[in-house]
Amino acid sequence: MPHFVIIAVSILFDGLAYAMFLFITSVGLSVTMGLMGFVNLAHGAFAMAGGYVVVTLTRTLGIGFVPALAISAVVVGAVSVVFERFLYRRLYKSNDLEQVLLTIGLAFMAIATATYFYGPIPKSVPLPEWLQGDINLGFRSFPSYRAFLIVLGVVLIAVLWYGFERTNIGAKIRAAVDNRRMAESVGINVDLLFTLTFAVGSGLAALGGGLAIQLFGLSPNFAVLYLVLFLIVVAVGGLGSLKGTLLAALVLGIFDTAGKYLLADAGGFFIYAVTVVVLLIKPAGFYGRE
């Protein structure tokens, strides 16, 4: 097979895996920001927390990796409700700056707590047999883990799409993102909706965090380091849009991977350059409103 095709396929594969990670972790942030207009910079901390829960479950309690992912998502999602009800709720009417500061403060507290309990050294998790190793397709072998990530991503996209587009609740969410006051006047309980969406979004973030361990290693700084990425995906995709987050994750994930493959050092540039270009042309992102 010609060399450039192998490179292209590698870029696509790795890019897709990266994109799936970005999507899973960022979609919750996009929907909650679109729904409530709340700038939640602690989102990365929820992802980080999810990762550490998986670490504890697998290393200390001997639970398998995949079940640990599921449990972590549920636990973090449930805990996030407490934050939403008692803390975030008070700032829905506040300005951007205050929301930014409060959530950054929470993120700092979370990082410090993680450092205290887990230490600053990056952690890894034991993977089951079938996730280690490679799948050999002749011209190249592909890490099974990344293939898993892609498959999982596709499944989640399908589930989320179905939930968003085909269920009653999904319709209500879309209505509320579109026009909150209208939705409220029609009798939709936007508050409850938001709590639910927030929980699911945080749970997904936790899942993303757990999945990230194998890709990037997990250290407390994850909360802030990758936050920038999530924010970029959300901004480029457009707030409150499933389609937008997916498209942004794909574009940014593949461009970033391509950049790193083809231009090594300069590669880190790409993702920011793409962001700036997209936002200058479409300030509300691909599928954002107004």
Partner: protein, 342 residues
Amino acid sequence: MAASERTIPDRKATRERAAEYLLRRHRFRPAEALPWLIAIAVYFVFPDRMTFGSQVVIMVMFALSLDLILGYAGIVTLGHAAFFGIGAYTVGLGAARLGWTEPISGLFAAAIVSAFFGFLTGWFLLRYRGLTLLMLTLATAIMLQEAGNLRSDFSGGYDGLPGLVFKPVLGLFDYDLYGHTNYIYALVVLAVVFFFVRRIVYSPFGQALTGIRENVRRMHAIGSPVHRRLVTVYTIGAGIAGIAGALFTQTNAYVTLTVFDFDNSAKVMVMLILGGTGRLYGAFVGAVVYMVLEDKLSKLSPTFWQFGIGLLLVLGVLFAPRGLLGLLENAGKYLSKFRSKP
């Protein structure tokens, strides 16, 4: 209505009183001497902490530059460290690559270069608000850092440009090991910068900035060239941040790419919020309190320090959104109400 029952002299008196208040407002108040007196006193009381002292002064200037942009004009940016870094590297590269070691002209160069970048980026980016602007400013700062990293042979990268030597200030004052000269140098520069910032804040232009922050819709409707005003203040803020960065390189004789870190942008925001935005002296209070706390606490345990800052931010937003100066104001109002009760 009471006014129609008033005599003409009465109405004139009210009018005069209103005019007098505005006419006097910009005059220096005695309390304003306080921070400067303290700064001078520190020189004599803590002669062995002067290197730390210069860094505090530099941070005050950095916070002041952000206050113009954030506190007065209401522009929320996550990339202000970019201008600090540009100023720092203008001086650093100037010294390391061009042999330009005269400090005061270095300050001017840094101010001009960062102001220019401020103008360029501001002109494009300030058409946007909210999350879009946050992301654009953040991305710009990161890209600058990455660019520096790309040519780390030229820029010194994260290891930095070491061994920078600067000529004595004004050709007269030699640098001493304890940083005494640096402290006074930084303080004098701060005083000059502050003088200009204060004039801007009390000028009609400064008032217009407040108007833009308070109600930009109204400003458009009364004919204010909002974008032009925002770009102007952003450029000035960038220039001042550049001077702070230049001082940083000069007083440390060293600079690395970490000056562009998001951490730096976040830090200066925390300082400003701590002290209180839109208050001129909030930068002083916030920067000093933050730096002193960091100096004491982060040595004990960086983890506890980080937790503490986080907690401070959370509590601050919930209970003291206008910072320490805001709390002081509230206390003052409360006391005067108390006193005026019969």
